[in-house]
């Protein structure tokens, strides 16, 4: 199977500092990749490059054979890469349905996009479509942000610490929702999170970053057993 998303030797320098220093990986449709690493290891910068908000200093991101890096956030979205943020970013007084409609309209392949109801069902947001976003619980708001990303009809979904601030039950529900999105919509998902109880059962594979480079890749079980990863990040348990 050819890869949907190919990240090829991506580098991002800020002055003398290489925040991301030669990261490569591939991702297939429906795969969930966990992206972990200590603070400052370049995870969020890498996500920003994938999402088009940062231009890579060198290297390319290819979606389905087309280079899509370095062209601005809205072009990445049109190409099929959508993201969510660490902090909840929704449009205050709007209902979820209004926001979804806006996301849908800005998308150029509306036929491929799941309906509002389907998105809501996948994310367990049924019945909340017509409530103002601000009246949702904080966990539901984070799911709503994923719903907005899905309404743009992405082929790759980037989630930046989606489980932050969630309790165990909420993060388990989120993990189920992300798995459903990957399986049912065939969306490739990249998840950055520090919560290993959330991430490890969810991810098909895990990529560990340290100081901007790839420290290790493998299945969650391999990563848990990797001594370098334990030393630099996971710690002894």
């Amino acid at each position: 199977m050819t890869a949907l998303l190919t990240v090829d030797r991506v580098v991002k320098r800020y002055g003398g500092l290489a925040a991301v220093d030669g990261v490569s990986f591939t991702l297939g449709a429906g795969d969930v990749l966990g992206l972990i690493g200590p603070n400052g290891s370049g995870k969020t910068t890498l996500l920003g490059i994938l999402a088009g908000t940062h231009d890579p200093t060198s290297g390319t991101v290819t979606l389905d054979g087309r280079v899509c890096s370095g062209r601005g956030a809205h072009r990445a979205v049109h190409a099929g890469i959508a993201r969510t943020f660490q902090t909840t970013r929704l449009f205050g007084g709007w209902t979820l349905r209004e926001a979804l409609r806006l996301a849908r309209r800005e998308n150029r392949r509306p036929a491929d996009v799941a309906s509002d109801e389907r998105i809501a069902a996948l994310l367990a947001l049924d019945g909340l479509l017509d409530r103002p976003c601000t009246s949702l619980t904080s966990a539901a708001q984070r799911l709503a942000m994923i719903a907005l990303a899905l309404a743009t009809g992405p082929r790759v979904l980037l989630l930046d610490e989606p489980a932050v601030g969630m309790d165990t039950a909420e993060s388990a529900a989120l993990a189920r929702a992300v798995r459903d999105v990957a399986d049912d919509l065939g969306v490739a998902v990249v998840v950055v999170d520090h919560n290993m109880h959330f991430l490890m059962p969810l991810a098909d594979s895990v990529l560990v970053m340290a100081s901007g480079t790839v420290l290790a890749t493998g299945t969650p079980a391999q990563i848990r057993a990797d001594e370098a990863v334990i030393a630099s990040y996971l710690g002894e348990t």
Partner: protein
């Protein structure tokens, strides 16, 4: 009393139309667009020169409004777009653009005041004890019509919804795939068209000169802060409030202090409600 109120409403409508143009641009791009006064000046001169050339007033007015929109978009494309990553440069760029636009007007038309004649110059509406000159009535009608059209655009069209989304959260709007540059241009286009409307509505009550809009711009900025930065309906309510306060202050205390009453209201609002009457942008209040 009623007469003073009606005059205040006239002034308030003018402030509202100018302030909405400023607040739209501020909301979307966080630029204090001082150059807006220059847009009004050029729109007014365009109307005047087309009308001098013998065209009917309606045509001249449309030319003025179109000029306002075009020049406003030009300021965005040629200047503001390039400093979007450096917000601290925005006030200096805005002041520089204002000087450039005013001096273009000075160079083309000279410093002498021109008067703009309209077909409704001689109309005088009377109802009860209140008289309203045609030019003032026209301004109120134009203000209500253009702000009503803007309201429909912002609430009923997807371009307008995208604009509100960008004003609330630029990055989150980008996440939905909204192209920022299109929205910046649209905000400047609408602001410029409103500036053109303000110009043709206001020039006949005053006279056209390169500095005709300076005081209005100052009042409009007071209105924008009153209403809450980036809030369109705040700008409308703030505009009416300021117009009426200035009107009453001028009539009952002293007209020399007309602008001072506006600034007094500003100080009071800033003390009592620092975010403005209807602030919508919590994220800006850091």
């Amino acid at each position: 009393m009623t007469q003073v109120l009606v005059d205040g409403i006239f002034l308030g409508c003018l402030f509202a139309v100018v302030a909405v143009g400023l607040t739209l641009v501020y909301g979307v791009m966080e630029v204090p667009n001082f150059a807006h006064a220059g847009i009004i000046v050029l729109a007014a001169y365009t109307t005047w020169s087309v009308s001098q050339a013998g065209a009917p007033f309606v045509l001249a007015a449309l030319a003025g409004i179109a000029c306002g929109g075009a020049v406003s978009v030009l300021t965005e494309v040629l200047a503001y777009r390039w400093i979007i990553e450096r917000p601290a440069a925005a006030p200096a760029v805005a002041l520089g653009l204002l000087l450039i636009l005013q001096n273009v007007a000075l160079r083309l038309y000279g410093g002498a005041g021109r008067s703009l004649d309209t077909p409704y110059d001689t109309v005088l509406l009377r109802f009860g004890g209140v008289t309203l000159p045609g030019v003032k009535a026209a301004l109120i009608v134009l203000a209500v019509a253009s702000l009503g059209a803007l309201h429909l655009l912002l609430t009923r069209t997807s371009l307008g919804r995208a604009m509100r989304a960008v004003a609330q959260d630029r990055e989150a709007a980008g996440m939905l795939g909204i192209p920022m540059r299109r929205q910046y241009m649209l905000a400047f286009l609408i602001a410029g068209l409103l500036g053109g409307v303000a110009a043709i509505a206001y020039a006949p009550t005053f006279q056209i000169s390169p500095y005709m809009a300076d005081e209005v711009l100052l009042s409009a900025f007071v209105v924008v802060v009153l209403g809450g930065l980036g809030s369109v309906w705040g700008a409308v309510t703030g505009g009416l409030l300021l117009g009426i306060v200035q009107g009453f202050g001028a009539a009952y205390v002293s007209s020399a202090y007309q602008s001072a009453f506006g600034l007094l209201v500003l100080v009071l609002i800033l003390v009592l409600r620092p975010d403005g009457l209807r602030s919508t942008n919590a994220r800006r209040v850091a």
